[in-house]
Amino acid sequence: MSSTSTDPRVTGTRKAPGKGVTLSWSDPRLRAIVWQVVIVGLIGAGIWYLVSNTAANLEQRRIATGFDFLGTVAGIPIGEHLVPYDPSVNTYGRAVLVGILNTLMVTVVGVVLVTLLGTAIGIASLSDNWLLSRLCAVFVEVMRDVPLLLHLLFWYALLLTLPPVREAMMVLPGLFLSNSGLKVPLLVWEPAHSFAMLALMAGAIATWLAGRRATRIQHATGVRPKVWPVAVVALVVVPVGVWALLGAPFTLEMPVKGRFRFAGGGLISPEFMALMIGLVLYHAAFAAEIVRSGILAVPSGQWEAGGALGLKRGTMLRQIVLPQALRVIIPPMTSTYLGVAKNSSLAVAIGYPDLVSIVGTTLNQTGQAIEGIALIMAVYLTISLSISLFMNWYNARLALVER
């Protein structure tokens, strides 16, 4: 291109304007330097002022700085933890780790559910069934015009008005809903299950490889070999076979209703449920609007071309419209995902032990406000940047290759 060109008109035979800075106020380069020095100086002075105030205040209140407090025993009881945690033994560092894992779990589950529900509602709101599209529009308006925090408080209050354990409702056999949460049957985990899971993961990789191979052959010959037999064998037959060979163990630990509590089974707490319901309904409304406008952004000629090929509406949507709509959808969807991650911090209002709530308790107990908030910000910045990086990579992969 232009950098390799040897055209004299491009490389220029005229002398470039002088590079030196003249000491005159009419020289834009001098002005730029002076302005930058002034602005950076002012902001630097402001920051220095705040930092020196902080240092003086800390010294006066005898607050020690540093992250040493993470090594002391926490004593914060935490209801839900993904890693073993005992408040009388474990440290603040461990408690913070529990909080980070809880935040990550809420974010991951939330993003998946928001994507599924948002896409479904976004597509349904474009249906030619009047009732369906109206209902979707009403859902979107109602859900997104109410603050998320109110959503959480509302759903939490509603879940707490459920009957007590003694009168727990049986939603499905083995599934009990009461004001202390949702009791679910647990699978008794045996080595056979682990091996089956390993086989499933290997199968997923094999299917993915087969799909890539099929695309390569399709590009070379124009005929796409069938992938689904490989998928069925790798994803269903082999894992089930492994599980059956190892004796096909399958025992469910059913919750048994007692007078005040259940015995056995797993528990989904009302805090987690309220947080999930609120987060997902709120953000799915935004995601639905994004999906809807993304599909509308695809020119109608694409639908008509699909129709001219005799494709069914569902096939057109999946094969022609959605892949093109994705290019419009991904950037705003990224901000919705970031919103899910950041708004999961509202869990503190209903007492779900996420990162903000645990660090909040920590800084109340230890007084290490600066370190605590720095910790919160660092973790969320990391999560946000990871989501952004991943979505930017995905977006770049999907982007129209322009020549």
Binding site: V40, N129, L131, D145, V146, L150, V348, V356, I376, M377
Partner: protein, 380 residues
């Protein structure tokens, strides 16, 4: 279905009765029952809609309790009727008892007319600003005058009004003050930051703006509010301790400025390069170029997304609940902490939801209308 239409077109002698071509039946056939799948969806949705709407109406209006009698012994309301209807009917008596507290918080009871006027003034200010007829310089004066009047009314202490300290304010006025004042202050900052991020010959300023935007966008608003409530006192010199509301306001301004700046940057980028070049060709200085040529066009382009950002911030001000500021949501939550009404929080939250919904829904309708109007003028 499709055969019916073909018959209709190909045999002119046997025209369809008008009822099947126009009118509600034809409409239902085209929009509700145009295929087997669609008919099934319609029937299923109609079934659930009727079932749940009926039980909701039953709960909210028919089996509900609207007022409860006063207990003569204690002088308090007696919620026995509500307890009896619990689970089958709503208890709107809680709203009847608490609506003044929910709307105006702990503002002195006999002075609450002032808070009510403040709410009316705010709504008037929004309506005036929304009308394009008033989009000129004088609008800024109206804003300054109204905001001054609002703070005079809230604080009092002059014109014979009783002085009400700031920690007694609460409810809807706080929500409106936090969002309106926050956006009004954040907007100029946002314009400067957006210009800074777009500047080509001030790399240091650009870097500062990028860091500011990306850091604030990457963290939740709660962490900033925590910072405002816990760390802000440490930043200040000895003896200077701004009140809690002001500290939260600063956090909201810093947060809002970033999101507004990104929207404005979008407008700056969408403007054709020719406009910048034309301004340069006229020899305008940077500020004249931006103030007279670029910003008026760029801001106009982004009014609809700006309104959407406003809606987001109006809702996000409710987060101050977590640091204990008495906004609308907090006063609702405190109202249901009353032992008499503890079991009836759903009703109060529905009312709060309705209030937020009214504000946000009218803003979003307005933004859609503007969008349509602008796209019309662009197409012309």
């Amino acid at each position: 279905m499709s055969t019916a239409t073909t018959t209709h077109i190909s045999v002119p002698g046997r025209e369809q009765p008008p009822m099947l071509v126009a009118g509600p039946v034809a409409w239902a056939r085209a929009n509700l029952f145009n295929s087997i799948g669609s008919s099934l969806v319609t029937l299923a949705l109609a079934y659930f809609l009727l079932k749940y709407a009926a039980s909701f109406i039953d709960w909210a209006f028919i089996k509900s309790v609207w007022t409860v009698p006063m207990d003569p012994a204690t002088g308090k309301l007696d919620p026995t009727a509500c307890r009896a209807a619990k689970g089958t009917g709503a208890c709107w008596a809680v709203i009847w008892d608490k609506y003044r507290f929910i709307l105006f918080g702990r503002y002195p009871f006999e002075e609450q007319w002032r808070a009510a006027i403040v709410v009316v003034l705010f709504i008037g200010l929004f309506v005036t600003s929304a009308m394009r007829r008033f989009w000129r310089r004088e609008l800024a004066l109206i804003w300054v005058a109204t905001l001054t009047a609002i703070f005079v009314l809230m604080w009092g202490g002059v014109f014979g009004l009783r002085y009400v300290p700031q920690d007694e304010w609460g409810g809807l006025p706080i929500t409106l003050i936090l969002s309106t004042f926050g956006l009004a202050c954040a907007f100029p900052i946002a314009v400067l930051v957006a210009l800074g991020r777009r500047s080509t010959n001030l790399p240091a300023v650009k870097l500062l703006c990028v860091i500011y935007i990306e850091v604030i966008r990457g963290v939740p608003l709660i962490s900033l509010l925590f910072m405002a409530s816990v760390m802000f006192p440490l930043f200040m010199p000895e003896g200077l301790n701004p009140d809690k509301l002001l500290r939260a306001q600063v956090a909201i301004i810093l947060f809002a400025a970033v999101y507004l700046a990104e929207v404005i940057r979008g407008g700056l980028q969408a403007l054709p390069k020719g406009q910048y070049e034309a301004a340069d060709a006229l020899g305008l200085s940077y500020w004249k170029k931006m103030g007279l040529i670029i910003l008026p066009q760029a801001l106009r382009l982004v009014i609809p997304p700006l309104v959407n950002t406003f809606i987001g911030f109006f809702k996000d001000t409710s987060l101050v609940l977590i640091i204990g500021i008495f906004d609308l949501l907090t006063s609702g939550k405190v109202a249901v902490a009353d032992p008499i009404w503890q079991a009836f929080s759903t009703e109060v939250y529905i009312m709060l939801g309705l209030i937020y919904f009214c504000f946000c829904f009218s803003m979003s309708r307005y933004s859609r209308g503007l969008e349509r109007e602008f796209s019309k003028s662009v197409r012309r």
